[in-house]
Symmetry: D3
Subunit: 67 residues, 6 copies
């Protein structure tokens, strides 16, 4: 019954990679806490780099600077 929300920057994660995240998190919750995979929900949000900040500036600015 767990609910997991994964937020990442929108920088080209593929359908396959997102499927791996969904499977991996679901397995982890079964292995660590015995949670039933059938009712484990995973939602992935991909966020534009203009809309994600860390260190007081956007990821867009950091990427432009080479960080």
């Amino acid at each position: 019954m767990p609910y997991v929300n994964i937020k990442i920057t929108r920088e080209g994660a593929t359908q396959e990679q997102k499927a791996e995240l969904i499977a991996g998190v679901t397995d982890l919750l079964r292995d660590v806490l015995g949670k039933n995979p059938a009712t484990t929900v995973v939602v992935i949000d991909e966020i534009d780099t203009d809309n994600w900040g860390i260190g007081g500036e956007s990821v867009t600015v950091r990427r432009a600077r080479g960080s």
Copy 2:
């Protein structure tokens, strides 16, 4: 003053249906808890089926299989 976030898969909910969800949730909070509709906020997130997992796989994969 409540805040409600509804997450659904992006599969064609219409403007009218979303308006019904907003009105329905707002009414429910007034009826059950006496919450003031004027300050009840509802946010609907529509999530791509690649980005929604249940049972360890994406909704895209489940839909393709006919689930």
Copy 3:
């Protein structure tokens, strides 16, 4: 498969009222969008009034002033 998060101030909602919210939201999503109740998840967060702000001040301060 929807996921709904309801945030309210912690001001004495009873177990029965919370059950009504869960049932009501689940019914609404079935009626409006045909969503399967079996996989509709509802999570209610009750937030201390010190930690909820509206109009630039906490609900604690507003309640003390009679708002």
Copy 4:
């Protein structure tokens, strides 16, 4: 280490305005709580006006009426 999520309606916030929000929130957490800007994360979600409700109706409807 704080995490801040800002949800606004999608009504034309510019890259510069979003950068100001990121910088401003990060500064606020440093000034008020001494939080380290280097690990303060800010995520801005811009929500379609059809998907944002207040007072039991969508912002789309309110804007059309002149509210």
Copy 5:
């Protein structure tokens, strides 16, 4: 830089189990997407069973019935 929020019912997850979830999700994001563990944030919310609904009823009611 990812942010992950895991919501589970409050039913006795130990400090060790929560540490395993944090480490496991962080590893998964490094392995699948090459995300830097140093800036991966994981927040676990434990929710009272009265406040978690599935199938239109609370987990408290389901547990009492033996589900």
Copy 6:
């Protein structure tokens, strides 16, 4: 009409500090985007250090090590 959620570790933020966060974020949204303070909602979540991970380990473990 914005909604802001601030998540911090539960490490003794006072009622006054939380009031400053609420006022500060509300002012920021008014100054940067012209948002109406009357309908700006701020919710602060304080998270146990066992339940907050960064760098693959909990804040509890990091604090014990002096980080």
